[in-house]
């Protein structure tokens, strides 16, 4: 499935977004490992709930952080593509 405006990303099966108890920083836990999550990725991941479309996620982020939507789109697509490659994000339509 290709990612498009109407895709509704969510954490893939068996992937957990948690806070690292030692540092308080968010991390993704998945079957074969642990991935530290930076601020940008966290803002995106928090919205990957299977309800919001890619369009809505971009709009929300652009408003909340007061950034131009084109820039947000690029960041979101880059981040989600990387996470999809590792099967950390799944898409629903």
């Amino acid at each position: 499935m290709q990612m498009d405006e109407q895709s509704r990303p969510e954490l893939a099966r068996g992937v957990r977004l948690r806070n690292d108890p030692l540092t308080g920083e968010p991390v993704l836990l998945f079957p074969e490992g642990v991935l530290p999550v930076d601020e940008t990725m966290y803002a995106i991941l928090r919205r990957c709930n299977g309800d919001l479309t890619l369009t809505s996620i971009i709009r929300e982020l652009a408003e909340e952080y007061d950034i131009d939507p084109q820039t947000v789109r690029q960041d979101v697509c880059e981040c989600l593509t990387q996470l999809r490659e590792q099967m950390l994000i799944a898409l629903f339509k």
């Binding site: 893939a12 099966r13 690292d20 108890p21 836990l29 079957p31 999809r84 099967m87």
Partner: protein, 374 residues
């Protein structure tokens, strides 16, 4: 930043229904009694406090532990992500349900080949059909599934079919783990190491199929380090991110480390885990860069690959603090290249299991005296 373990490999038992000739278990099993349910519970609680976020239940075959669901529950209660690494022999539905109830997050199942006769021949047991059924059941119960296939000269040519097998099982991940030559695999390396040509072909296939399967299945393919110029950053550095607790409670920086003679590993029955991680001689022995000999000491890659693998350095050079011969800068490089070149001369027919009997020593289970069950 202080080193802290993120992942714990919990080797629950060295017993296993399979006898794979590349098993990562030690060739010499330690003496002692397997840790009890209660002792493992303490290990998980201590590990969590130390920073561990993720535990892999491994072995041998972890399903041989009757208390496996309790152990999963204990790790889950300690806040750890739990992954079962199994042959799937003995993974019946009621057991899988108990473990799901206990909080098991994911399941990894090993396959030896896509073809039943070869798979059973490599495993030294009639297990392939059981694995297929178990993998389907795991999917029906909603677990994420990783398929793990150790690649070597006898199965690597079937890579496309192996990928189809994992795809058909709807696995999220396929680990194409080229055999790592320690323990049993080191003994069998002349029969197992693929040729350079096989590796080049397989690398291309894996990359091509990974692209095709984007969003459906991730393929992890790592080139065997016998064919690389730079060594792998083994365990991301000794005592930096990983720890293994073996069946009798010895704590190791990596599962193969017990093969290094002259290093004594501390045990969870005698010492708390945080002491072992922070202060033990074994965990500090190759931590950081102070211990490094030339050429590692002055190398700009020293914080990238950490001098490679200590176990491999020991197995090939006899000195665990030597530069890993997988590095082209190693003064012992020739010991590796001579062996690697001898493999290239192997006639292709030799690589086919149907045409030649396997000349392999199969992994044995521990005898009664060694690491017996609790």
């Amino acid at each position: 930043m202080k080193d802290r373990p993120y992942m714990l490999l919990a080797e629950l038992t060295y017993g296993c229904p399979l006898h794979c000739p590349y098993c990562s278990n030690p060739v010499q099993y330690p003496d002692g009694r397997e840790l009890s349910t209660r002792e493992w519970g303490r290990v998980f609680a201590e590990a969590s406090k130390l920073g561990v976020l993720h535990v892999g239940f491994s072995g041998g075959e972890p399903l041989l532990r009757p208390d496996l669901p309790e152990l999963v529950a204990a790790a889950h209660a300690a806040g750890l992500y739990t992954n079962l690494i199994t042959s799937a022999v003995g993974l019946r539905k009621n057991r899988a349900l108990q473990m799901r109830e206990a909080g098991l997050d994911s399941v990894q199942i090993s396959f030896q080949s896509d073809q039943e006769p070869l798979a059973n021949q490599i495993a030294g047991a009639s297990a392939h059909a059981t694995k297929i059924e178990a993998a389907k059941m795991v999917r029906e119960l909603g677990f994420p599934l990783t398929v793990n296939v150790v690649l070597h000269r006898l199965n690597i040519d079937q890579l496309e079919r192996i990928i189809s097998l994992a795809e058909g099982l709807e696995a999220e991940r396929l680990e194409l783990a080229n055999a790592q030559y320690y323990g049993w695999a080191f003994q069998n390396r002349a029969a197992l190491l693929p040729t350079r040509k096989q590796i080049a072909w397989a690398t291309g296939i894996a990359a091509e199929q990974k692209k095709r399967l984007l969003g459906k299945m991730d393929i992890l393919f790592v080139t065997p380090d016998y064919y690389t110029e730079r060594p792998k950053p083994c365990m991301n550095g000794w005592g930096r991110q990983f720890m293994t607790v073996n069946p009798v409670g010895d704590v190791l920086p990596c599962p193969a480390a017990s093969a290094i003679s002259g290093v004594r590993f501390d045990n969870v029955r005698k010492r708390p885990l945080d002491w072992i991680w922070d202060q033990s001689e074994s965990f500090n022995r190759f931590r950081g860069t102070e211990w490094m000999p030339a050429p590692c000491r002055d190398c700009s890659f020293r914080e990238v690959d950490f001098g490679g693998c200590r176990c491999q350095a020991f197995l090939i050079t006899g000195d665990a603090s030597a530069t890993d011969p997988a590095c082209s800068l190693s003064p012992h490089r020739e010991k590796l290249t001579t062996f690697v070149e001898s493999i290239q001369a192997v006639h292709p027919a030799y690589s086919s299991a149907e045409q030649r009997p396997l000349r392999l020593s199969f992994r044995q289970n521990p005898t009664d005296r060694k690491c017996h069950t609790a």
